[in-house]
Amino acid sequence: MDYRNTLTTCTYCGCGCNFFLESLDGRLTGTIPCKTSPVNEGKLCIKGWNVHQFVQSEKRLTKPLLRKNGELVEVSWDEALNFVASGLKAAKSASGADSIGFFASAKVTNEENYLMQKFARAAVGTNNIDHCARL
C-alpha cells in the first residue's frame, strides 16, 4: 500500500486554504486541512472538504478530441498539437496576429498563465489576452 499526504492549495475560491490531499495507491481518498496554514488554521469549507471528489471523476477528459465531420473524436496528442499549431499559423498569416485571441484562466497556476501570455505576445505577437477576473 502506498499512502501519501501532499500539502497543496485549494482550487476553488480566493481564500487559498492549504490542505493535504490523501491518496492511497494513486487514488485520492480525502482532504485534511492544514493546521499550520496562516490562511485557514485547520479549517475548510464544504467545498474544500470535498475537493478531492471531482479530480478522478469518470467524466474527466482523458484524450485529445478533434472535430471530424462535425463530431468530436479522440485523436493522438501529436495530431491535436499539430492541428492547433498549424491552425494558429494559418490564422496569423491570413489575417494577422491580432486576429487571434487567448483566454488565460483564474483556475490554472501562475506558471501556466505566464506561459500563455508569453506565447500570445512573443510567439504570436498579440496582446489579445484576458481572463475572467471580471466574472
Binding site: 497543496t8 477528459l61 498579440t126 471580471r134
Partner: protein, 528 residues
C-alpha cells in the same frame, strides 16, 4: 486586499458591502466571526440579506446598483459632522476640494429615496465607520459587477481616505477575489494591457525588457482586446481564432446566447480543460489538461499570498500538464520553449517581475509569501499602503456622482434580477457539480423571490416559473424567502440547465470592462 486575511479579526469595525462572505469566502467569514467575538462592530450593506447580515450590528438593504449613492450619503454625514480625519487628508491625499464640493451638493433625502435606506440608518453607518479606530472594508463582486463598478470601488477608496482608515494594521480596503487564482492570473499578465507585475505593454522600457528576455526583436505595443471585445471581434470578422484555457464562458459570461453564437462562428476554437464543458462542446479541438491535484506550481490568493500547489496523484488517462501543452504548441508554432518544470518557469517570472523577485520555490516551503517581495531577504508584505503611503504617491480623491444601472425595471420587465453563488458550488459548477457530496447538497438551480411577489404571481415554494429578460428566457423552480425584497429576485449561476447568464446584461463598465452581472430587468411567468 490591502490587509492580510488574518488582520481582519483585529479590526474594530468591519463594513461589508456587496460580498456574500459566508458563502463565497467562508474562511474570510471565519475571521469576521472572530472579530465579532472580540467585540468588533459589523455593518452590512447588500440588496440581498445574506447570512453574514444576521450577525451585523446594522444591516441595510440598498437597491441593486445604488452603491455610489449610499456611499456618497455616508460621506456627506461624515463631512457634515466633522468626523473626517483632517490630518490624514492633508498629509496623504490630493484633490480633496473637488471631492468635497461634490459631496456638499449631495442631498441625504434623495440618497434615502434612491437607495431605499432610512435616513437614520445612513447616519448610523457613517458614524460607526468614521468613529472606528481600525475600520476594514470588505467587498466583492457585488461592488464590481456593474456598469459603475470602477466608480463603486473609487467611492470605497474615498470613504477609507476620508476617515484615514487605510495603511494601518487591520485597517484598509479589502476586495475579495472571486476565484482562487484571479490574483495570480492578473499578476502574471493575463490581461490585455500589462506584462507580469502590471508592467504596461505600452511602456517602452517594459516592452524592451520583455522583448530582450524573450529573445524577440519586438513585442506588440497596442493594448489587446478584453474578453467581451474578443467576442465582439468574432462577429465583426476581426477575430478568427480563439484559445480558451480553463474557462467556461458559455456559462460564466453575460448574455450566453450571444456568447454561443460567437463561439460557433469563430473559425478555430481551441479549448483546454479537464471536463467537456458546454464551451468545450463547441470547440474544433479539445486539449485535456490536468486538475490542481495533478500538477506542481503556485497560486496567489486574495491577500497576495503566493503558495505552492503540489502534485498528489498522476494525471487521469492521457491528460497532460497545461504548461507542457503550451510549450509543445509553441515549439510546433516555431517559437522555442524548453522548460523542464514549473519551477523553471517560476524562476523566469521572478527574474522579470520586481514584486515576485524575491520568491523562490524553496522559500515557499511553509506558509507562503505575500508580494511585494522584491529580494531574497525581503519577508513579504502583509499590508499595502503602510502609514498612508500609496503606491502612486498620494491617495487621490475622486468626485463621483451617482449614475443608475444600465438596465432599469419598467412595466414590461418589472423585476430587478441579481446573481451570485451558493455555499456548495463554485462558479460554473464544472468541478463542484462533479463532486458527489456537493451535488447532493444542491443538485439544481432556483430563483429566490419575496413572499409578496410570490403571492401576486400565485406560486408556491418549489413551483416552476419562466424568467425572461430582453436577451433570453429560462425556467427554474422558485424559493420563497425574505432574503430578497419585493421587486428583486436572485439566482445562482452554477447551473448550465437553468443558465441565468442567458438573461444577464453584457453592458460593461467603461474602464474595467466588467459586465453588469448584478443588475438586469426580468419578467416572471408561472409555468402550469
Amino acid at each position: 486586499m490591502t490587509n492580510a486575511m488574518s488582520e481582519i479579526e483585529d479590526a474594530d469595525t468591519i463594513f461589508i458591502i456587496g460580498s456574500n462572505t459566508a458563502t463565497s469566502h467562508p474562511l474570510v467569514a471565519t475571521r469576521i466571526f472572530r472579530a465579532i467575538e472580540k467585540g468588533a462592530r459589523v455593518l452590512v450593506a447588500d440588496p440581498r440579506k445574506n447570512q453574514i447580515a444576521a450577525f451585523a450590528d446594522l444591516y441595510v438593504r440598498h437597491r441593486p446598483g445604488t452603491d455610489v449613492a449610499l456611499l456618497n450619503g455616508m460621506m456627506k454625514v461624515i463631512l457634515d459632522k466633522g468626523l473626517e480625519d483632517k490630518a490624514f487628508i492633508a498629509e496623504n491625499t490630493e484633490e480633496f476640494d473637488a471631492f468635497k464640493k461634490l459631496i456638499d451638493g449631495v442631498s441625504l433625502d434623495e440618497v434615502s429615496q434612491i437607495t431605499g435606506v432610512l435616513l437614520e440608518d445612513i447616519h448610523t453607518l457613517a458614524e460607526i465607520y468614521a468613529k472606528a479606530d481600525k475600520a476594514s472594508i470588505v467587498y466583492c463582486m457585488g461592488i464590481t459587477q456593474h456598469t459603475n463598478g470602477v466608480n463603486n470601488v473609487k467611492s470605497l477608496a474615498n470613504l477609507s481616505m476620508l476617515t484615514g482608515n487605510i495603511g494601518k494594521y487591520a485597517t484598509g480596503v479589502n476586495p475579495l477575489r472571486g476565484q482562487n487564482n484571479v490574483q495570480g492570473a492578473c499578476d502574471m499578465g493575463g490581461l490585455p494591457n500589462v506584462y507580469t507585475g502590471y508592467q504596461p505593454v505600452t511602456l517602452g522600457a517594459a516592452n524592451k525588457k520583455f522583448a530582450e528576455a524573450w529573445g524577440v526583436n519586438e513585442l506588440p505595443t497596442k493594448i489587446g482586446l478584453t474578453i467581451p471585445e474578443m467576442l465582439h471581434g468574432i462577429e465583426k470578422d476581426e477575430v478568427r481564432a480563439l484559445w480558451i484555457m480553463g474557462e467556461n464562458p458559455v456559462v460564466s459570461d453575460p448574455d450566453a446566447n450571444h456568447v454561443v453564437k460567437a463561439l460557433e462562428k469563430v473559425e478555430l476554437l481551441i479549448v483546454q480543460d479537464i471536463f467537456l464543458t458546454p464551451t468545450a462542446r463547441l470547440a474544433h479541438v479539445v486539449l485535456p489538461g490536468v486538475s490542481f491535484a495533478e500538477k506542481d506550481g503556485t497560486f496567489s490568493n486574495t491577500e497576495r499570498r503566493v503558495t505552492r500547489v503540489r502534485k498528489a496523484v498522476e494525471p487521469v488517462g492521457e491528460a497532460r500538464q497545461d504548461w507542457w501543452i503550451i510549450q509543445e504548441i509553441s515549439n510546433r508554432f516555431g517559437f522555442k520553449m524548453d522548460y523542464a518544470s514549473p519551477e523553471a518557469i517560476f524562476k523566469e517570472i521572478a527574474s522579470l517581475t520586481p514584486s515576485y523577485g524575491g520568491i523562490t520555490y524553496e522559500r515557499l516551503e511553509g506558509p507562503g509569501l505575500q508580494w511585494p517581495c522584491p529580494s531574497l531577504e525581503h519577508p513579504g508584505t502583509p499590508f499595502l499602503h503602510k502609514d498612508g503611503k500609496f503606491t502612486r504617491g498620494k491617495g487621490l480623491f475622486h468626485a463621483i456622482d451617482y449614475k443608475p444601472s444600465a438596465e432599469l425595471v419598467d412595466d414590461e420587465y418589472p423585476f430587478c434580477m441579481t446573481t451570485g453563488r451558493i455555499y456548495a458550488h463554485y462558479h460554473t459548477g464544472t468541478m463542484t457539480r462533479n463532486s458527489k457530496a456537493l451535488d447532493f447538497e444542491a443538485p439544481e438551480g432556483f430563483l429566490e423571490i419575496n413572499p409578496a411577489d410570490a403571492k401576486a404571481l400565485d406560486v408556491l415554494d418549489g413551483h416552476r416559473v419562466k424568467i425572461a429578460s430582453r436577451r433570453g428566457e429560462i425556467e427554474t423552480r422558485i424559493m420563497i424567502t425574505e432574503r430578497v425584497e419585493k421587486g428583486v429576485v436572485f439566482m445562482p449561476f452554477h447551473f448550465e440547465e437553468a443558465n441565468v447568464n442567458k438573461l444577464t446584461n453584457p453592458a460593461y463598465d467603461p474602464i474595467a470592462k466588467i459586465p453588469e452581472l448584478k443588475v438586469c430587468a426580468v419578467k416572471l411567468e408561472k409555468v402550469s
